[in-house]
């Protein structure tokens, strides 16, 4: 990789100040995506800001009916958290399937969401439960956060501080992973709230999205039968060496049914 300067700010304010004064500075969270990117010379930041020393970015807390997870929380911590297993097990299950155990010891929620890889897992949970992303300067609703392939609503230099996940009545996540990398080929996260059902699909399109026909059907009847006649269009779906867009549409339908079954069987 090209060389860079390295800083380890000790406070959120320090990190935000450096980022706002320096267009070529890049935040470093777990590094499990950024470092491979730098090794391929696909990016050339002048300065890396290691966020591991910032206390405001650490911690998991369960409030009233939400879980708040700070940005530098490692995937392994989410997967192993008794609090999350007891309140939002679909999230700990999702985190436990990211990458591999070694990658999960370093990779972070903030890093994953800021990157918004179409094949990433967390965006499905965030959109699925309508989580709120708290940054250094504002709160962003999940429905407003994911804009496109590797594109989020974050402004340059804006740092994710934590994510609040409302607790649904029921929820589940199933992905069809790439067998080598574990990346999401297609994944489905369904959450049922008293206000209605949310269905988030990742891996299939340029970024995570909600499948509103399926949501409408499940709002009338939460069952596999209710979605049987729905066709998932492959238009705009990713088409690459891992799967064609048609296959992804097929997988989406299969996984939607499996997630419904998983939720109703519990």
């Amino acid at each position: 990789m090209y060389n860079f300067s390295y800083k380890r700010p000790l406070s959120l304010q320090e990190a935000v100040d450096i980022l706002s004064n320096n267009d070529d500075a890049q935040a470093l969270a777990g590094g499990q995506t950024l470092l491979p990117t730098l090794k391929h010379r696909l990016a050339r930041p002048e300065t890396l800001l290691d966020l591991q020393g910032i206390e405001e970015l650490q911690g998991i807390s369960v409030e009233q009916d939400t879980i708040r997870i700070a940005a530098m929380t490692r995937h392994a911590q989410v997967a192993n958290s008794a609090e999350i297993q007891n309140t939002l097990p679909a999230l700990s299950h999702l985190a436990g399937g990211i990458g591999d155990p070694l990658v999960r010891n370093m990779g972070t929620m903030g890093g994953s969401l800021a990157n918004s890889d179409p094949a990433a897992d967390y965006p499905a949970a965030v959109l699925g439960v309508a989580a709120t992303i708290h940054t250094d300067r504002r709160d962003i609703a999940a429905d407003d956060f994911f804009l496109g392939m590797f594109e989020t609503a974050l402004e340059p230099g804006e740092l994710i501080v934590s994510v609040s996940y409302p607790l649904p009545l029921r929820a589940a996540y199933i992905k069809f992973p790439n067998p080598a990398s574990g990346y999401v080929v297609v994944g489905v996260f369904i959450a049922e709230f008293s206000s209605g059902v949310r269905v988030a699909i990742n891996g299939a399109g340029p970024c995570v999205f909600r499948e509103q026909n399926v949501e409408a059907a499940l709002n009338t009847s939460f069952s596999v039968d209710a979605v049987n006649e729905i066709t998932i269009s492959h238009e705009g779906f990713n088409n690459d060496i891992h799967a064609t867009s048609e296959y992804r549409a097929h997988l989406a339908k299969v996984l939607i049914k499996r997630v419904i079954q998983k939720i109703t069987n519990n």
Partner: protein, 152 residues
């Protein structure tokens, strides 16, 4: 840039380029060549070491990320000239052939046994998801790790 950390119990101070990976620090600056670079793309796990007690892929960690940390490599496992129980188990169960993945497997194995009192075969195989072996078919690696339940 100056870097201070503890490696295998010994304090280390080095001046490194910022882009130095942890695996490079270990292999090239500290002559600890037991940690291997297999793929350099975060897949194979030959580079696994312990960073503050957690097994990580050292090819995907900057040396500077380990500033102030404790790193343990395969060289750090022996106690008073005796092989670590898991190293002995790997030998006894013929859990290596070319040996390239072995240090990573052992470091990861210790982490698995620290987290699971008596893991069954399925659990061990799942927990080794980030460690690839081209020679052994994993059979004896799993046996060796299973045999050390409660011993690490």
């Amino acid at each position: 840039m100056k870097l201070r950390l503890t490696v295998n119990g010994r304090k280390v101070e080095k001046d490194v380029e910022e882009r130095t990976l942890l695996v490079q620090l270990l292999r090239e600056h500290l002559d600890l060549t037991g940690t291997h670079v297999g793929c350099d793309t975060t897949q194979c796990g030959c580079c696994v070491v312990h960073l503050n007690g957690r097994s990580v892929k050292s090819c995907t960690v900057l040396a500077l990320q380990a500033e102030g940390a404790e790193v343990t490599t395969i060289e750090g496992l022996e106690q008073d000239g005796e092989l670590h129980p898991l190293q002995q188990a790997f030998s006894h169960h013929h859990a290596l052939q070319c040996g390239y993945c072995t240090p990573g497997m052992i470091m990861r194995g210790i982490d698995i046994l620290n987290q699971h009192k008596a893991p069954d075969e399925a659990t061990i195989r799942e927990e080794l998801d980030g460690n690839l072996c081209r020679c052994t078919g994993y059979e004896n690696i799993v046996k060796a790790i299973k045999s050390c339940a409660g011993k690490v």
